[in-house]
Amino acid sequence: MAAIHTLLTGLARERATGSLSVTPSGKVFVDDGRVTFLECAGTPTVERLLTARGRLGSPRPDTPRALVDGGTVTKAELQFCVVGAVLDAAYFLLPAPMPTARPKFRPGERHWLGGQWGFEVAWLIRECTRRRAALAQTWPVDELDGVPVTPVARPPAQRVTLSALEWQILVSADQVSTPAELAERLGQPAYTVLLAVRRMGSAGLLTVPRLPLRRRHPPERPEPVPRAAPTVDLSVLAAVKKALEELP
C-alpha cells in the first residue's frame, strides 16, 4: 500500500507550495517542494516543546521572528526546536498508510513557523529510516511502545546508569501514561522518549506486559521505509494534485 512519503516525494518533484492534510491528525506544509513544517497529532508541537520549558508566553507571537525578538528563545534554539519537531512528526506520519479519504491540498497555505527553514523530502525519509533502524537495534520489541510505562520495583542489577531523559521518564511514569503521553507532558520529542523507553526495556528496568498471543510470534520489526520512493508517474500526480485543488 502506498504510504504518505510517496505522496510527499511527488509534491517535492513538482516543487509544490501549500499544505496537505494527510490523515485526520496530520498536516504537511511544503514550499517549492521543500517541507517547511510537519504536524502530527501524536507528537508534541513546537508550542508544546517551548511551553514545557517556560519559553512561550501568551499571546503567542505570530512569526518566528517575533518569537526570537521577544527574547524568550534564540534563533539557533528555535531552529533546533523546529528541526526536532519536524523530524519527530515525520517519523510517525511518513510511514502511515495513505488515508482512505482523499488528502486535501491547499495551495499557498503556510505554517506560522514555516518558511524560515526547508527540509528535503529525501533527507526526511532517509533520517526516518535511520531512526527506525536505531530503535529496532536498541530493542526489537514493540510491546512497550503503546502501553503505560511501568518501572520494575527492583532493578535486575546492583547498579543502574540512566541518562537525564531516562530519569525524567521514570520520575513521571504514573503507570497510566504511555510513552507518547509522557513525551507530551515532558515536552520532549515522542521518538526520543520511545528510544529511551526501549533502552530501559532492554535493560530490564520496565515491566513488559504479558501478551500471550503475541509471544508466539517473533518480535515485530517495524517495516523500513524504502530509501528511494517507488517510481511515480508525474503526469498522474499532476492530475491528482489538480483534482485535489479543485475540490470545494
Binding site: 521572528r65 526570537v68 534564540t74 533546533f80 523530524l87 546508569t161 541518562s163 531523559l165 521518538y191 528510544l195
Partner: protein, 119 residues
C-alpha cells in the same frame, strides 16, 4: 571548519542520533559511533566517580588519526547537541581549538535575527 588543522567536523543530536550539520569531508562520517563513544565515556566516568554522576565539558582523544574533540552543548530542546571535531596532529593547536569550540557552543545559544532594515 575555521579551526586551524580541522579535518572533520559535525554537530550531532545525542539522544536521537540525528546529524544537524557537517563540515569538510565529514559527509561520509558515521555519526552514530561518535555519539556512542561519548555516551559510553559518560556512563563509565559516572560509575567511576564517587558521586555517581558526571558532567563532561570537553572530551579529547588522541589517536593515530589526529585529535578528536567532543563538546556536549546543553540545548533546551532535544539535546544535548555534541560538537565533534577531528584535528590534524601536526598542524593544529589543541588549546586554540578548545577556545573555538567554547565560542561556537556559546553562539548556539545567542544567535538572533539580524536587525531588520528600515523600509
Amino acid at each position: 571548519m575555521d579551526i586551524p588543522g580541522a579535518l572533520d567536523a559535525l554537530v550531532l543530536d545525542q539522544l536521537s542520533g540525528t546529524v544537524m550539520a557537517t563540515g569538510g569531508g565529514s559527509k561520509e562520517l558515521d555519526a552514530e559511533p561518535l555519539g556512542e563513544v561519548l555516551r559510553v565515556t559518560m556512563d563509565a566516568l559516572a560509575q567511576a566517580s564517587t558521586r555517581g554522576t558526571i558532567r563532561i565539558d570537553d572530551m579529547i582523544v588522541v589517536s593515530d588519526q589526529g585529535y578528536h574533540l567532543f563538546r556536549p552543548v546543553d540545548m533546551p530542546f532535544d539535546g544535548p547537541l555534541v560538537i565533534y571535531v577531528r584535528l590534524d596532529l601536526a598542524r593544529s593547536n589543541l588549546a586554540l581549538a578548545r577556545r573555538h569550540l567554547q565560542t561556537i557552543s556559546g553562539q548556539l545559544g545567542r544567535e538572533t535575527w539580524p536587525p531588520s532594515t528600515p523600509s
